[in-house]
């Protein structure tokens, strides 16, 4: 007798995955930061890391969000923190966007397999095929200290990130 395979939780499958929560070890990844260079999260062990998943280069709100973090870099640096932007855009697209907006921090390409890192963090929008607007602050030991999912159309600003960095133990 064959078992009829009924996909469980069909309704839930329509919903978006949940972000990884504080206390979870941040999954390591290696992504292109330029067309010929890669960066791994584990390269930054020992430093607090801010990860900003965002839907796309060039869309107006994203531009504002990455522009804002660009301006906030000296404040992140006070905590010794590195910030990484991640979207599914290709490395050449990031390169053009970063030059256009004078972005001075790494924009990583979660391009192939598409959205694989975002999926690991629960920050991928199935159906649309883009990253959520999701923030993570990772402590010096590589553990997620804070995560936040913003509505797609709302630039979340930097206040939550700065508060999370402030709360990290030295």
């Amino acid at each position: 007798m064959t078992t009829v395979c009924i996909e469980p939780q069909t309704a839930e499958r329509q919903e978006q995955a949940e972000l990884l929560r504080p206390g979870t070890k941040a999954p390591d990844f290696t992504l292109h930061v330029t067309p010929d260079q890669c960066l791994s999260l584990s390269d930054l062990t020992g430093k607090p890391v801010v990860i900003a998943f965002y839907p796309a280069d060039w869309s107006p709100v994203c531009g504002d969000q990455m522009t804002l973090y660009n301006e906030a870099l000296p404040e992140f640096e006070k905590y010794g923190a590195e910030i990484l932007g991640i979207s599914v855009d290709g490395a050449w697209c990031h390169d053009a966007f970063a030059k256009h907006q004078h972005i001075h921090f790494p924009l990583l390409s979660d391009f192939e397999p598409k959205g694989a890192v975002a999926k690991q963090y629960g920050a991928y929008r199935e159906g649309e095929g883009i990253c959520q607007r999701a923030l993570f602050v990772i402590d010096r030991n590589g553990v997620i200290a804070w995560s936040y999912l913003s509505p797609l159309a709302v630039n979340p600003g930097a206040d939550g990130i700065l508060q999370a960095l402030e709360r990290l133990p030295d």
């Binding site: 504002d64 522009t67 301006e71 906030a72 404040e75 004078h102 972005i103 600003g157 206040d159 939550g160």
Partner: protein, 178 residues
């Protein structure tokens, strides 16, 4: 919800009745087109609410995409140190930014031109501008202009109806609770 983390103080540039029930705080950038578009709207909102509204302007220059925004903010602060903040604030939004404008404004207001040049060269007012910016970041400023109405970030549009509607609702709520 993001809220204003730096209370209005004597370090701020304030227009309107100090005892007004509603305070509108703007974080703005003199080179930002959206702030330029909001400038006459803020004027109209101020006129509409009269003594019920006080207005505060704080600096939030996005220097990497707006190369003139920082020197414009420092020029306004220089004028503020000489008691002429609002004239320069208004003129910066109404004109093409750049040193010729800053010097012309100084001359028109009888401010010492040499002192302005020195202040811009030595970045005398950068700490004030940076302090405004940092307070904005901590308060959840997420672009320019960002408005706070009685300390609460206004996430609606920066048009007259949205700003005036939120201020009117705040006034109505204050009247109900008093």
């Amino acid at each position: 919800m993001s809220t204003l983390q730096v209370p209005v103080s004597s370090a701020d540039h304030v227009q309107g009745d100090p005892h007004a029930p509603v305070t509108l705080v703007e974080y703005g950038d003199y080179q930002c087109p959206a702030c330029g578009a909001a400038f006459p709207i803020v004027k109209a909102v101020q006129k509409h609410f009269g003594k019920a509204l006080r207005f505060v302007f704080r600096n939030f220059p996005l220097t990497q995409i707006h190369p003139e925004a920082e020197s414009a903010a420092e020029t306004a602060e220089f004028a503020g140190a000489h008691g002429h903040f609002w004239e320069v604030h208004d003129a910066l939004y109404e004109n093409q930014l750049g040193l010729p404008l800053y010097l012309a404004l100084a001359e028109a207001l009888n401010l010492p031109e040499a002192a302005l040049r020195e202040a811009l060269e030595k970045r005398t007012f950068r700490p004030k501008v940076r302090s405004d910016f940092m307070g904005g970041l901590k308060s959840g400023v997420n672009g320019t202009p960002t408005f706070f109405i009685n300390g609460k970030r206004h996430d609606g549009a920066s048009d007259f109806d949205s700003l005036a509607g939120t201020i009117a609702a705040e006034l109505a709520q204050l009247e109900t609770s008093s």
